[in-house]
């Protein structure tokens, strides 16, 4: 990967980062609207506001590198190159969905892109990522595995078990903790003692904090972490500070029946640090793109999302018989 002398992205890379973030945003805005309209099956947990993390990280990765993701996984899926049509169709429960409609929003996976899957279990991806990285270490295949997880998941014991094993065995894994300040309706500080980054350090793991709303900062931190991991020196840890702009899930208001856990003010303050707007302004300022060019990108992304929706609508419902065919490989349940 060509990098700028500063380690920053090239202009083309910068534009690509912008477009990818925007694709995530627009896709989820559509999902939000459809959820509000009550036409989507299941629940969606949106990534809006956090796009710089997935994008900055995943655009440092190859298709063959693995990622594991969370219940809030659309951003990771798209950032790693997952197909928006196939993801959208999955969320609509269609046969053409990336998981044939069997998994839904919380389980989008695409092995051909190294996406081992979103996960409905908080912390569920951690050990899976360590296992995949163990495989890479044994085969010496040069792959890196990135494990995305939240500040809430950082309180699961399995996180620290994984720090221990991966440090011990010098596994090529990068732990990316997205500190978005919330675990559902609980503020992270109510449930977190000490600094999460110190947990990684206690195991002798190289660890950095980064502004998770600055896609280039994430991009640079990841470059270093991935290089270290790929070189065989063991795991790295990145804590990206960001903010969950939307509720824990769509429909949260109805669920909470007036219950409140944060001030609107706070959301507004973070909106002012919106990662996409910020990166767009940077591009314009640096002369990498004009406002018009950004609008063009916006239009392209909008068409892509429209097409994904249309694709989903015209797709057939999931094939029910697959439930019995896919449970086991070559065996009926």
């Amino acid at each position: 990967m060509t990098t700028q002398p500063s380690g920053g992205p090239t202009p083309e890379q910068s534009l690509a980062l912008y477009e990818r973030m925007l694709l995530i945003r627009r896709t989820e805005e559509k999902l939000s609207a459809d959820a509000a309209a009550g036409v989507l099956p299941g629940a969606v947990h949106l990534y809006i506001g956090q796009e710089a993390v997935a994008t900055g990280v995943c655009m440092q990765l190859k298709d063959s590198d693995w990622i594991t993701s969370t219940h809030r996984g659309h951003g990771h899926f798209l950032a790693k190159g997952g197909d928006v049509n196939a993801m959208m169709a999955e969320i609509w429960g269609k046969k053409t969905g990336i998981c044939k409609g069997m998994g839904g929003s919380m389980h989008v996976a695409d092995l051909s892109k190294g996406i081992l899957g979103a996960n409905g279990i908080v912390g569920g991806g951690l050990a899976i990522s360590v296992g995949a990285a163990f495989g890479s270490k044994l085969s010496n295949d040069g792959r890196v595995t990135v494990c995305f997880f939240g500040d809430g998941a950082a309180n699961q014991g399995v996180f620290m078990e994984c720090l221990n094993v991966s440090s011990l065995w010098e596994l090529p894994v990068v732990f990316v903790c997205e500190h978005n300040h919330f675990c559902e309706f609980t503020r992270a500080e109510q449930v977190t003692s000490g600094e999460i980054i110190n947990r990684a350090r206690a195991f002798g793991i190289h660890a950095v904090k980064v502004d998770g709303n600055d896609v280039e900062a994430v991009w640079r931190a990841t470059a270093e972490a991935v290089a270290l991991a790929r070189s065989g020196k063991g795991p790295c840890f990145i804590e990206a500070e960001t903010y969950r702009i939307k509720g824990h899930m769509e429909f949260e208001k109805e669920l909470l029946a007036g219950g409140k856990y944060r001030e609107l003010d706070e959301i507004e303050q973070w909106r002012a640090r919106d990662p996409i707007t910020r990166h767009g302004e940077r591009l314009v300022k640096a002369g990498i793109a004009t406002a018009a060019q950004l609008e063009e990108i916006g239009a392209r992304v909008a068409r892509q999302v429209e097409e994904a929706v249309a694709f989903s609508h015209r797709s057939e419902p999931a094939d029910e018989s697959l439930v019995f065919d896919l449970m086991f490989a070559g065996q009926k349940p």
């Binding site: 299941g42 998994g103 919380m106 389980h107 908080v122 809430g152 309180n155 977190t192 219950g259």
Partner: protein, 324 residues
Amino acid sequence: MARKRYTQAINEALFEEMERDPKVIVFGEDVELAIFGDTRGLLDRFGRNRIRNTPICEATLTGMAVGAAAAGYRVVLHMMFSNFLYTGFDAIANQMAKLRLMTGGQLELPITILSGYGGGRSNAAQHSDTPHPLLMNLGGVNVAVPATPADAKGLLKTAIRGRNPTFFMEASGRGGDSGEVPDGDYTVPFGKAAIAREGSDVTLIAIGTMLKPALGAAKQLEANGISAEVIDPRTLVPFDEDTILRSVRKTGRVVVVDEARDRCSAASHIAAILADKAFGSLKAPVKRVTVPDVAMPYAPNAEAKVFPSEANIVSAASAVAKAA
């Protein structure tokens, strides 16, 4: 009597039991704001010493329940979705279910664990399990499966006042269902099945969430001239064999309806009890209407396909009713 929602009945039971006994404490992830609504308002009334949000760490939560109970508290632990019981399964299976015997009866563990179970809402496999069979097999824990708001309230009170660990399975998918709830303080005893509907031709044994489709099926069957008795066990541990045996001695025909996966389900176990103890009365094969041995799929049509329905129950009951 007043019509109340299922979660509201649970909420009332929690309020009343916390008022009644200062040793009752509630903890779990996000219990302060109550994603299901069942713990709503407790924080304002009782404060953080009695109800408290925890970090996400189920392995510790179940173990803490044991420790706090040993230290003299009546613990109510909310585990949100039943699938997260697996995350905290060590202390459930290795400690909670065994410590009383292992310590020669020294430890008493008044613990109530709430969790929502079941599918039917496109929550996909990791949020749709119905794990009562696993809990039943552990041997040292009670399992309550209230189907109605009235039973939810009464069984929860019995659980909280009890002296043993109880898993209180919340019919989350149908948490909105309403029903008549008696006024004032009352409890529903463990190990007493309810005859939800009397009948003479076939016995439908319906567990938890399955009561509603079973009652629906009974109506349809009636229209076809088949009189179905519907029994709701209410607790699976302890289990009321007598009521079920009595019914089967009368009807000789049985369908057991369970939202758990089929293999080693509560339905299997009830069928096994009947094949042993009611053998002489059985006039037809004992049928099970259960979820097949698969993970719950996400797509609504696929989920509906594997979910027990009124139609499944009607056809199973019709088949046994007709069997020679």
